[in-house]
Symmetry: C2
Subunit: 380 residues, 2 copies
Amino acid sequence: MKLGTILVVGAGFAGATYARALADHGWHVDVVDRRPHIAGNAFDEVDETGVRRHVYGPHIFHTNNARVMAWVRRFATFVPYEHRVSAMLPDGRRTVPLPINRTTINTVFGLDLQTTVEVRGFLDRQAVPHPSPSNAAEYLQAQIGPELTDLFFWTYTKKMWGRPLEELDASVVARIPLRLDDESRYFPDDRYQGLPSDGYTGLVGRVLDHPGISVSTSTPFQRELLSQYAFCFNSMAIDEFFDFAYGPLAYRSLRFHHRAEPSSYAFAPTALTNFTNNSIYTRQTDWSLLPGHLLRDTGAKTITLEEPCDDFDNGMERYYPVPASDGSQALLYARYKALADREPRLRFIGRCGAYRYLNMDQVINQSLAGARAWLSGARQ
Amino acid sequence: MKLGTILVVGAGFAGATYARALADHGWHVDVVDRRPHIAGNAFDEVDETGVRRHVYGPHIFHTNNARVMAWVRRFATFVPYEHRVSAMLPDGRRTVPLPINRTTINTVFGLDLQTTVEVRGFLDRQAVPHPSPSNAAEYLQAQIGPELTDLFFWTYTKKMWGRPLEELDASVVARIPLRLDDESRYFPDDRYQGLPSDGYTGLVGRVLDHPGISVSTSTPFQRELLSQYAFCFNSMAIDEFFDFAYGPLAYRSLRFHHRAEPSSYAFAPTALTNFTNNSIYTRQTDWSLLPGHLLRDTGAKTITLEEPCDDFDNGMERYYPVPASDGSQALLYARYKALADREPRLRFIGRCGAYRYLNMDQVINQSLAGARAWLSGARQ
């Protein structure tokens, strides 16, 4: 037993935040990560075309939590950035703002709606009432009607989740707002938005840079480790920890397809473009349009397309818990959670531990709170 | 079937070289890699302390092959670097050159041997004759005697390979030379030595930067792909491809343990230091001592220790084929190779395909030759 030492499994935002919070209070922390790098799915690198690429897909930092923002600012300066997303219409030529706003509606329907009242009225005529929508399809029908649902959600969702809207919980689409005006920012309500100036890897590296923290990469968790530590905060997948005793929790993963384009390439006015068409790709990222992400002018830049998938047998990473409308996954998670609660010196943390889609700021906030609660208990 | 398109599995040196050689001859090539990045085990990144870190352990480029050097120079400029390695003696204070040279011997035995004849004579008195050494232990006994064998090879080899010298083929140690003079360079016979100035990721990225090449990361090989392509060059592990039908080939892997030290930290005069002691670590790398690997002065630098292991069930990467002295692994490989030879439109390439330790220049050379041979056959 390493007295006074805590094991943290995973060097992503959850693990790094716990490690730092504990180390700042005098604990020694050993952090292990099975991957060869830190920063989890936020890991980024500068590629040969000079773009900073988030290797597990684009990560945008945004929060309303001043405490979280103050905390991450200890470890990075941020380049201001207001995130916007386009949708490429099926004609492959016109892009419109996403989430759906007045411009989107006017472009799609060839209208010239001027006021929020007009937009509201138009959508009300489109909508098909569902007094209590039981899945994502019904929710959307009731909000925006069949035409917009089909155009922006039906095909995209099928690609993204590998299942139709009817089989997904309304919460999947309920978090995507609807704008009656021309607001085109993705996170207009978040006071703090930006990208860490030397990347998420730099940020997380400094979070972990503390004399009390040791970091090991390419180091998978092994159950034998548990007996050697006072406590373990574990961000690995909870079902994997229990050897999939009740079967695997459903996740969605991503494959990334890259191509080099000339620096002058312009596909859409935004870094991210969603595809409404029938291809295998959900969206593409032009990294050069994220501030500080075209670092050297090499004459070229990388464009990355995302193809959702779920071949976890092949060692792919878990990205998104699948919000099944039948509640099956929530139930399965509850069974694993009950097993976990019987482990006296172990707590599951982060997105894979909670089996919930969490933004980076939520992960940091929960981790700071979790560490604080644990520390106050540990001190008694 | 994608007519005229070739599938390459793996975006490391083998796959990237094949892809480029084929694309330069007009073929379309789809490259897939299950990892989220290109460059295979040569992948590097700049971390938060400003050091360039090779995330799967240090890679030094060295070759005598002018053709290979001319080829890689199309894709990178090289910073000159002559590699040297130290061994930390068990006292934890003194370092000596590796491979063993006159300085090493004088330091270890407290001698003052001046000429190569004196060194030769000393070693001859140390040596225990073995007319035809059948394993690494006997080979070393016959070359340098028990004391140097124990000090530099016994413990290190046990850590490195997880088995005693007796169970390893003489070839493991036969490739480590013995110097009777003060030569301390690791590769004194290689005319070209250096490190790519913006890293191996940059180099491999430019190898793959060709309009005929598409690259997909986080994309594991799937057998169904084979029927879609004219031919497949595959650098995945040959036993894994055949679902371990005859059992797994033995490999050794590495865990990496990192710590931050002040920029002024000086452990040994060389970037790499091997440990002769009984710890779990074989060696450590001070990245800042590789030229162009301390890129920003942040006041700190990362030191990385290596711990060999072989927990492949946990998804670790295969690094080193185990050269078992009983020939069991060579035999097992031959059985897989026989299966592979029956696949008409598939060829295994690279280190995992050949189940042989290969330097980067060897991989490139074999890949260029293999692509050329295939192209001349394909054209008939």
